[in-house]
Symmetry: C2
């Protein structure tokens, strides 16, 4: 149940193009909150909330930088992506049975109509 709720949040997080864009940028290098806001021509508060969403789902993580305590450096976190991959694997595990099931359902329906 907890896992399902987390998947909800994960997919919702990824549904937003800005957030997917953020992930795309962080793929190459960690970036500061302000740099990300600028990259998407967006107000800092708006980006801040996107980052909160990504943090909450665990897709992203904020690190401090030793020189300046005001700066938050954001980077990706692999674990949650693995979870997503696990879901995909589970769904795709059943392709082979689809055709067979289709035939079975046809049988089932026909049987109901002609008992």
């Amino acid at each position: 149940m907890g896992a399902a709720r987390r998947l909800d949040d994960t997919f919702a997080a990824l549904a937003d193009p800005t957030r997917r864009g953020v992930i795309d940028l962080l793929r190459e290098q960690p970036l500061r909150a302000g740099e990300l806001a600028a990259a998407f021509d967006m107000s800092p508060p708006a980006m801040s909330r996107h980052l909160r969403v990504l943090r909450k789902t665990g897709l992203v993580q904020e690190d401090a930088v030793e020189d300046d305590a005001r700066v938050k450096l954001y980077r990706l976190r692999p674990e949650r992506f693995s979870e997503l991959r696990a879901w995909l694997d589970e769904v795709e595990a059943f392709w082979g049975e689809q055709l067979q099931s289709f035939k079975e359902h046809a049988e089932r329906t026909r049987a109901k109509k002609r008992p």
Copy 2:
């Protein structure tokens, strides 16, 4: 660009728990629109719209059943899931470089402050 838009829709489609539930059921066997509505204790119109969303993203496909032209049988369509997997692969391709990039960014920041 078209692909990005489609990813938007795909993730948005999967963000809804009902629609993920539908996919979960269809994984085992194709089902009728009415059967799906009943399975989630939901009005037929509500389910109909969920199915429209899933159809639009191509995650699901509607087939006719030869006996009764009123009935629409829904089943999964593997192709779009592959597309999702491709996105995941792309994102995950860069894990190895993360640590290195982190160091580089630290350098970059420090250099800016002490030129």
